[in-house]
């Protein structure tokens, strides 16, 4: 029996890689499975609501195909909810969704109102606060553990979830090391369904794995970033707002008036100011001034770099643009934060990309399950064998020296 010692060490090394790969996720597989499953649901949570709740859909009427301007939407709200105060209006990226306006009532309650963007019809209302979308995100992102409880400024759950990015990235790397010549799997896909559970789950794990390389890479890197983001925030690195320092309208610029609140610049005028100075800005979110010294905040997704929003602060009395955060003006940390989030959620192109994320989310969730199945059937035996071999080998070499 003449075995080339080089091959033997190589085999041994890949065996230990394989064991590392197997042990990375196994002790936490069920938690990881839960996080991936809820993340997959969270990706399409808005679409799930769309399926079940017709009031959040934007059905265009047969004749008119133009969408209402922000001012026209405001008129509709003021007509239907006299006395209410509008806090923000969101025009979703995806054309199949209704406009959402958050409004506050004199009895201190507030609601989200869903408005048909073509007809201005109020299609539905929902109390702000609890909703399915945020609920799924909160389970996935921080296990519903509250933020800023005095112990950590971010939620403790945030760290419990985001630390999973590390074993996930290591699983990807070790997986590619132990799957010899994995690129062959692209040309010769193999999924044997009639050779028993072990063979099926093994084939599935490898096939789904190689096709998910970019997805797992994106998800694990962005997850590790979320961990870093939380830690940076804990130590007081400021990047949690859109601007680094808040900008207010100077006291002298705020007019006094004997007849109560002076008329503000109209929303469409404020947006027109931005559009006249900056090219390629499509206003998607409009925040009303939250104090007498606050601005209109207008947000639009960057056309050049769709991972981030650009934001503009328009003085509601004079119409000057007091801050413009285009992609190039955003500080690096802010840009990283916005891009990482968009990459993680897949919410920057539209339905098509969300469905892609959903598909790979399902694959990843199933990979964790299949990994567990393979492990319980095979790895336990392999570990025992490897240790037995190592012991025998060290006994042998000990005896030789």
């Amino acid at each position: 029996m003449n075995v080339d010692p080089k091959i033997k060490t190589h085999q041994k090394r890949s065996q230990w890689w394989f064991l590392l790969h197997s042990w990375l996720a196994m002790p936490i597989w069920l938690f990881l499975f839960f996080i991936c499953l809820t993340g997959t649901i969270a990706t399409v949570s808005q679409e799930i609501v769309w399926l079940f709740d017709s009031s959040v859909r934007a059905n265009p009427p047969n004749d008119a195909a133009t969408v209402l301007s922000f001012d026209e939407v405001i008129d509709v709200i003021e007509r239907d909810f006299p006395g209410a105060y509008i806090e923000q209006i969101t025009r979703p990226v995806k054309s199949q969704f209704a406009l959402t306006a958050e409004i506050s009532y004199p009895d201190s309650t507030s609601e989200n109102v869903f408005i048909n963007p073509y007809t201005g019809e109020i299609q539905g209302r929902a109390a702000t606060g609890f909703n399915f979308r945020q609920f799924v995100r909160a389970i996935h992102g921080w296990l519903l553990i509250p933020f800023n409880t005095g112990f950590t400024r971010y939620s403790l759950g945030w760290y419990m979830v985001s630390i999973l990015g590390i074993p996930m990235l290591l699983s990807l790397i070790t997986g590619l090391v132990v799957y010899k010549k994995f690129w062959r799997g692209f040309l010769h896909p193999r999924l044997r369904v009639n050779r028993g559970a072990r063979v099926f789950w093994g084939d599935f794990h490898r096939l789904a794995g190689i096709w998910s390389i970019p997805f797992i890479f994106i998800i694990s890197i962005t997850t590790i970033w979320f961990l870093i983001q939380g830690l940076l925030f804990e130590v007081g690195v400021p990047f949690n707002g859109v601007s680094t320092a808040p900008i207010y309208v100077a006291r002298d610029d705020v007019p006094t008036s004997q007849e109560g609140r002076p008329p503000l610049l109209l929303a469409d005028q404020a947006i027109a100011k931005v559009n006249s100075r900056y090219e390629n800005v499509e206003a998607q979110m409009l925040y009303f001034p939250s104090t007498a010294f606050d601005h209109y905040r207008i947000l639009g997704r960057s056309q050049a770099f769709p991972l981030v929003h650009e934001s503009f602060l328009v003085n509601p009395y004079t119409g000057t643009i007091d801050e413009a955060m285009r992609v190039s003006e955003q500080p690096g940390l802010m840009l990283t934060r916005l891009s990482m989030r968009a990459l993680h959620t897949g919410d920057f192109v539209g339905l098509s990309l969300k469905l892609v994320y959903f598909f790979f989310g399902v694959l990843l969730t199933m990979m964790i399950f299949s990994g567990m199945r393979i492990w319980t059937i095979r790895t336990f035996k392999a570990t025992k064998a490897a240790f037995r071999q190592k012991k025998a080998f060290s006994n042998l070499s000990g005896g030789l020296s």
Binding site: M26, P27, I28, W29, L30, F31, L32, F34, G83, Y85, E87, S104, Y105, P106, D107, S108, T109, S110, A127, T128, G129, F130, Q134, F135, A138, I139, L143, L144, I145, P146, N148, T149, G150, R153, G157, M160, E234, G236, V254, T256, S257, Q258, E259, G260, R261, P262, S290, T291, A292, F293, D294, M372, W375, T376
Partner: protein, 178 residues
């Protein structure tokens, strides 16, 4: 011989520990399940679905206007990193006066002038939010001052004792200063 028997007992494949140890991380799923009711409650407080806050302090006539004050949570201040302890109050202006009041400020202790009137209320006049700093050496006898500034420049003030405004904050300070 004895050692061997013990080892085989530990590795017994039918033992609960042996079969379930790699599924134990699933117990973490209990966290969101247990926290769901309090999450729903928290969201309804943040969203204003329950009204102004967890505990309404009361309404006051301030000059020509009426304002209602509430504690966001019936709890002491929360440490907000280097900024120190913060207590969140919410306030609502009456519907008739919402358009007349330019700003509402809150602080512990009597402000000397408008520049030191305290933190400004953010948001809808029906649900303004104030994050008020509470120094660790604050006297429990201190008054909570509200300054209302009209669009016409008029200033009107009112105050509550800290005990009235937030018994939990008084409790918190007593414990802190012991």
């Amino acid at each position: 011989m004895r050692e061997v028997r013990q080892r085989s007992k530990g590795m017994n494949k039918s033992s609960l520990w042996f079969r379930w140890r790699f599924h134990l991380s699933g117990l973490l799923i209990l966290i969101p399940i247990v926290l769901t009711p309090s999450y729903i409650e928290l969201m309804s407080i943040f969203g204003g679905a329950n009204g102004l806050g967890e505990r309404t302090v009361g309404s006051r006539q301030v000059g020509p206007w009426t304002i209602t004050l509430a504690e966001q949570f019936e709890a002491g201040p929360i440490l907000d990193g280097p900024a120190g302890y913060m207590k969140t109050f919410n306030a609502a202006l009456c519907q008739e006066c919402a358009e007349d009041v330019k700003a509402v400020y809150i602080r512990l202790g009597k402000p000397r002038n408008l520049r030191t009137a305290g933190v400004i209320g953010f948001g809808s006049p029906y649900h303004m939010s104030f994050t008020m700093p509470v120094a660790e050496n604050t006297s429990t006898e201190q008054l909570v001052w509200l300054t209302l500034e009209g669009w016409d420049g008029a200033l009107h003030q009112t105050q509550w004792t800290l005990e009235e405004a937030s018994p939990a904050t008084v409790q918190f300070l007593k414990q802190l200063q012991e």
